[in-house]
Symmetry: D4
């Protein structure tokens, strides 16, 4: 079964990464975290990607401000890459465009919310893993059930 | 092997969808297209998703303006969903936020460029399909080779 | 007399909904609240709309982030729908465009302020209900009177 | 039965107004057009509103650039007001905020697309007019049918 | 000598107005404040403008959110109008466009900072009033002197 | 009587300046045009301002892109300065902020439309010149009359 | 004397690069162009930088859309890097933030206009090269002279 | 060896300037600070630039809001100018465009982060100063080492 490889551009992104790790655990998916900046240590970053690629993972890349890491990673591997950038408030959050505006042939998939990034990775892995897929379905059923109960609770008052 | 199911919100999106279909063909991936609006025909849209979900596809959803389709689709299936909205120029392209700003538990993955959406789908399918994965690698190698040749060509003048 | 049916996408929107309910009470208009996500429980959402539509209401829909609910609701009913999304600060409030940028044939009417949404609903109901219309006129007269008094108060100093 | 009163801020808005008139005709709704600027001829504008208000209409206001007309109109009548501003491309369409950012107690309802403004007006009138309501339902059914046929047409190839 | 007439759209703008009044006092210019909303009490607003216009003032208009007051005032008087809107942070301050985007023939002059609005009014009045003009020059000299002293202070360390 | 001194940052702004000159002629106001960049020839620019200031003019400054000229001019004269920048479409017209975002004590008054800049200058000059003031009133009356006729014309059909 | 090394991310940027080359020629500065994408061929890009760095150049990097190249280059060399991205109109030119929003320790210097990028490089080289510095001064004098002549030309009419 | 000359537009920018001074000290580069507004004291500002230019410095200019200082400085000297504006949050940080949108022939180089501005200045000076260049390389090596250690630290847990 594919695991998830999380690469973050700086140790400052560790809390963000751990939100993804926790959510992946909820889907019974193993993950491994790395710190590597595409700007500052591209050779080390390249080596991590090529080494991890052998294990057939889904990559999740985390880089704030100008996000070079997600495109760099995606272009160096045939595995899927989810970009989950911790976008701040500066310039109305315009950093998101550095994750979205990829040239032709570079295709990281962008998700804003770290829990949602884990869910998307789970759906990808679930395509070929029934246990994970069942966890995804259970998660989706639970949130549907929660909404129906919430509706009942405000209407029974 | 997973195929790709493309759902577009209007027949006006057919050209955009065909760009994805063509690129998927290049990766030797079958695809099937549907038209269904989450706003106007949600029950039909739901039925398409549930029927196609049985075949374990990667979904790609196409909806311009306010994109309800991608979140709707993602929340109704345990399969992965790539949102590839044809974002126009109005309001500085702010329609993209209707694809990105998903609530917790709804996780379409956003890609702007239709060829890149096909590449991302190929990477997902390639996780468990060597033939597709090889096509992805060949594509990536070719674009690397193209860049190296381009560099040579301007430098030999 | 028409009542107002408020549908919110999540229980987290309850405070926002209650501001509308309170303002409707001020216009002597009954309202009923429901929780239903167009993303997560579209069938339940559809059923609420079709059931409530029988009572000839004005709908007010409340959904933050990417607003699928308002367009979904509007397209499923011949009754008028007012979208009153609780737009946050992220991305300079660009979520508003998911309420505004509707395709042809989908026509929720957008109002930012929840009290104003109640006022607009009262004006609609007042078209055929003299009691409500009188309440609207009294409200408008009172705010005019307040401005004239405020002007007097700063000028008598 | 309520008619629709369209007030536009300048004769330059006449084409935009006529799109609304035509769509209202499709719903069998009469309309009447006026030109009056809240900036330049506020007394004339006020008189039009007060005179037309006697006939219990739905107002639709059309004003480009900084939209004073919609708020001015809404605050002077107990009838509902739909703002349908012809927003241009300058400043990324930021003119829309002059229609949306109303003070407390001023409640025009904003719709971008002129045909959709007509549809919304028809829904309001249809609350108490079965003929118009039937026209709305027929319109909605037709667009659903069109989507289903479009889906069929691309899938039978 | 011209005085300044300040019209604010709501009593909530009184602190903003007082900043202008205080700065005008510094230039030895009298001012008078009024509260009148162009949305809610246009007839009263009109009467204030026409009555005050007789005294040949410079108008300063203050209105937050969608600013109808500045254009309304400017179009009703042959005296100059300075718009000094208290622009908030919502939607990245896009309210400013409701002050700027005036139709042809409506010409309020926009200044963001209330003290600067007072300075601009002083410069206008100073064109024909030597006392005020001298105050403006003294103010400008003082801020130049302050900068030169500041430069000296950091350089003598 | 005050004339208007127009300073433009580049000869490329001459068409824009001429729109202002023509509109000033309509108000029977003389004007004189200069080319001087606050970036490139600040000493020449300073000398023009100090020389012209002796004649007690209203200044209108024209500078595209990053507008240094308007603030530079305003801070060097006790006469009023209207900034009328020819804002382009790049970056959603964000150049306007270089005209608006002035530090404390620098107070150019911003107007987008060149004809409106001329009108505002006429209103300023009209405060102490009855002929110009009469021209402003005639202009305003004419545009009111035009609107009333336009309203009549579409209603007599 | 330092030369300028221009690295562009794609052959599509060649016209943009040539504008810089031509302007550098005007300052009598040699330049050399390379094509290398930090996303797609980072190792080749790294090698170009390290090889060229030996010659002590000023680097100018050209990359549209999400600009990884400029930060990548800057972090791999102790030589100065000027980022001159060909920013398009999509999303109101928000691509510029991928050039500006650099993490701590990565310091490309951003210039929008390609001729200005050449001028900035010339100023850097001119710090230690009198011939280039003289060319810069001549260029600046010429543009000052041009402005003074332009001012004369419109004033002699 | 070139020193760095820092010009700030107001004493309020002193903390920002000191961040640059401290970082320059880390690269063993001397600096000198001046306060001078291009708006308010352009002649003094001009004199500072011309006097300091004799010492062959790199200039760093600091001006918030509408930044006239950087373009003014750049156009008055043949030495390189780095603009490091303290951009605030108002209007989504749109002040940055007053630093970026320079006319042809005016070429300040923009950097957002004050430490990065110091690093860029060090790289420029390092082109002809081995001691400074060595400091730059040591700084870059240290941040690479830090990243590698950070990666090791989270992976050894």
């Amino acid at each position: 079964m594919s695991k998830v490889v999380i690469i973050m551009g700086s140790k400052a992104d560790l809390d963000w990464a751990n939100k993804i790790v926790d959510a992946l655990n909820g889907f019974k998916i193993d993950s491994e975290c790395f710190i590597a900046s595409a700007h500052k240590v591209p050779l080390e970053c390249y080596n991590i990607i090529k080494e991890q690629e052998k294990h057939n993972p889904v990559f999740i890349t985390i880089a704030g401000m100008s996000n070079a890491l997600s495109g760099f990673s995606d272009a160096q591997t045939s595995c899927p890459v989810i970009a989950c950038p911790p976008v701040g408030d500066s310039f109305a959050g315009a950093d998101i465009y550095s994750s979205l505006r990829m040239p032709s042939g570079v295709a990281p998939m962008v998700i804003l919310n770290p829990k949602n990034a884990a869910l998307a990775a789970a759906k990808i892995i679930g395509l070929n893993n029934d246990e994970v897929r069942t966890e995804v379905s259970k998660f989706q059923d639970a949130q549907r059930q929660k909404l129906i109960e919430d509706n009942g609770s405000i209407r029974s008052n």
